[in-house]
């Protein structure tokens, strides 16, 4: 298809408001903007979601509970530090991290560690650190400020969730018990197999899978095929929340005039609140949100900091995923606690900086 740049450009870009809402170009079309943003958000997030689904499936099939347990320290401080270390070496963005964390929780990772990893990994991974550094033109204060806010917020939220949700934080799930006649041929359980397989009273191979999507792993099928099938199910399950989040973000971006935001820029506390709300509603990827924050140069640094800290922890894509993955109380805490903590910390920074 031939690229018709001028035409496309006219349709999506040339639409200006100045005081009154006035169209500069009669062929500008809000629906085109909406569809472009919706597609862009999905295309941007899909690779990360797929990577997370693959990682989750690999750990489902190749990583057993005992092996993971060996890496879990007893002290809470060490648990948080281990989670931060994992966030550093396992680059994930917020689009896929919930899938990985759900699998880790199923494998016996304590909620404190899981939550600390989930909230910090999209911020403290090398890609996000480099993009923050570049976006803020080498301003280390912003880089370390973002990491610091994320670490404090994730630790506090993790502690609160672990303390208040002792019965577990994942939603009730019915394990998919699969009895496959084909498995008669391979009744010898493989000790290295991650799946906990056993013979039931009928002699069929019973398979307790910790999926939440009713997947049917054929015990006789090659394991790699199981990984692929599991990946498909994981991707499909989380993609619906991504789609709903992308729809809401595209709608917000299409309908909300930028000029509203600038009415709050002069108030140090309101500007923090507005930037946080903007981060949640825009749902920009954590690798790119620093560039967006930096472009709001007329806002204070604490407001910009709040924007880049809250976005990867709470956004429209994540809210749906939290609701689908965690128990109600845990999901509400995962949304409310970061918002409150980041706002308070940013407000304190604003007050100190004057």
């Amino acid at each position: 298809m031939q690229c018709q740049g001028g035409w496309l450009y006219a349709r999506i870009f040339i639409f200006q408001r100045s005081g009154c809402s006035r169209r500069m170009n009669p062929i500008s079309n809000g629906h085109d903007i909406f569809i472009c943003i919706l597609t862009a958000v999905f295309l941007e997030a899909a690779p990360f979601l797929l990577a997370a689904a693959i990682l989750s499936s690999l750990s489902e099939f190749y990583l057993d509970r005992d092996r993971i347990q060996r890496f879990i320290p007893r002290s809470r401080v060490a648990q948080v530090l281990t989670a931060l270390g994992a966030g550093l070496i396992l680059p994930t963005c917020e689009c896929g991290v919930v899938l990985i964390v759900r699998r880790f929780l199923h494998k016996g990772v304590p909620p404190l560690m899981a939550v600390a990893y989930m909230l910090t990994a999209p911020i403290i991974n090398p890609l996000a650190i480099v993009s923050t550094y570049l976006a803020f033109r080498g301003n280390w204060w912003m880089v370390f400020g973002r990491i610091g806010l994320a670490v404090v917020c994730a630790s506090l939220t993790g502690l609160a969730i672990a303390a208040l949700n002792r019965e577990g934080i994942l939603r009730e799930e019915t394990p998919a018990r699969i009895r496959t006649p084909q498995a008669f041929a391979s009744l010898q359980p493989d000790p290295s197999e991650a799946h906990e397989s056993r013979l039931d009273s009928e002699g069929a191979r019973e398979h307790d899978c910790c999926c939440s999507h009713g997947c049917t792993h054929d015990a006789a099928a090659p394991r790699w095929l199981g990984v692929l099938t599991h990946t498909a199910a994981e991707f499909m399950e989380m993609a619906k929340y991504l789609i709903v989040g992308a729809l809401a973000a595209a709608l917000f971006k299409t309908l909300t005039p930028q000029s509203i935001l600038f009415r709050f820029e002069s108030n140090p506390f309101l500007s923090i609140a507005v930037m946080m709300l903007l981060a949640v509603l825009l749902s920009v990827c954590s690798e790119a949100d620093s560039f967006v924050a930096a472009s709001f140069w007329s806002f204070s640094q604490p407001a910009q900091l709040a924007f880049v800290a809250i976005g990867p922890m709470v956004d429209l894509k994540l809210i749906g995923a939290y609701g689908a993955t965690f128990r109600r109380r845990a999901a509400i805490m995962l949304i409310a606690a970061p918002v409150i903590i980041i706002f308070i910390l940013s407000a304190v920074i604003a007050a100190v900086l004057g």
């Binding site: 298809m1 999506i12 033109r137 498909a232 930028q258 990827c285």
Partner: protein, 246 residues
């Protein structure tokens, strides 16, 4: 459905319109994802039937149909009269790029608005330096009263959802240039600093998250040439030194 999604993503890359949604430097990532989705989808189809997540399938199907239909609308060819504008030839390779242009004996550094913005932030406004940049003219009554217009372009860092309009105030006393809103121009001019930080003009671009107009500089144009909108009008690249991405 995953196979259909993978194929749709592959088709988008092949269509040449990928840049409209995502920074082209991520094309390899989307292509890999498309390939893996097809693989995963085929593998999934080979397995025995399993319980279907109906809400997920419905949402996914609706999304797929809507975006494919919607993007066909966006990419549909315009009426013939709107196609009349000539488009420039494809961009040169980096080696072929000219770093500067000479006009009336003055050398102008070719630069895009995003790069110039960064340069001004990193090294301060280099008053008196000569630059040539291209962008879209933005006029408002306030800017007209101040004898200025803004030359701006949309910068896309990752995807269209994080697009930011980056611009510079350009001196135009009494609207002498006669340029209209939305017109594309190449400006050859001199950068001048301002003693005070200028307020952010109340302009917004549909599709842009924010508009950043450099607050401490104004371009004094020495020549302004109306041009056709570039084939790919967005800024995707920000270089630190010459040759700039222009």
């Amino acid at each position: 459905m995953l196979v259909a999604l993978g194929l749709a993503m592959g088709a988008l890359i092949l269509s040449g319109n990928y840049w409209l949604y995502i920074n082209p430097k991520f094309q390899w990532l989307t292509a890999t994802t498309a390939g893996l989705l097809v693989l995963v989808g085929v593998a999934s189809a080979l397995q025995p039937p399993r319980p279907v997540n109906r809400s997920g399938v419905l949402i996914f199907l609706a999304f797929l149909c809507y975006t494919i239909w919607g993007n066909f609308q966006v990419l549909a060819p315009p009426p013939p009269d709107l196609l009349a504008r000539p488009t420039p030839p494809p961009p040169h390779s980096r080696e072929d790029e000219k770093a500067r242009e000479t006009l009336n004996g003055i050398e102008y550094i070719r630069i895009n608005t995003g790069e110039l913005f960064n340069l001004c932030e990193d090294k301060g406004v280099d008053a008196g330096a000569h630059y040539t940049l291209q962008g879209m003219v933005v006029r408002t009554p306030e800017l007209d009263r101040a004898g200025q217009f803004i030359v701006a372009r949309l910068a896309v860092f990752c995807c269209f959802a994080d697009a930011v309009a980056v611009g510079f105030r350009t001196s135009d006393p009494n609207g002498r240039s006669g340029l209209k809103n939305g017109e594309w121009v190449q400006i050859y001019g001199r950068l001048e600093g301002t003693s005070n930080e200028l307020p952010q003009p109340e302009i917004t671009f549909e599709g842009a998250v924010a508009t950043a107009v450099h607050p401490r500089s104004v371009i004094i144009p020495e020549k302004t040439v109306p041009i056709a909108a570039p084939e790919i009008p967005f800024i995707f690249e920000f270089r630190e030194a010459e040759p700039f991405a222009f």
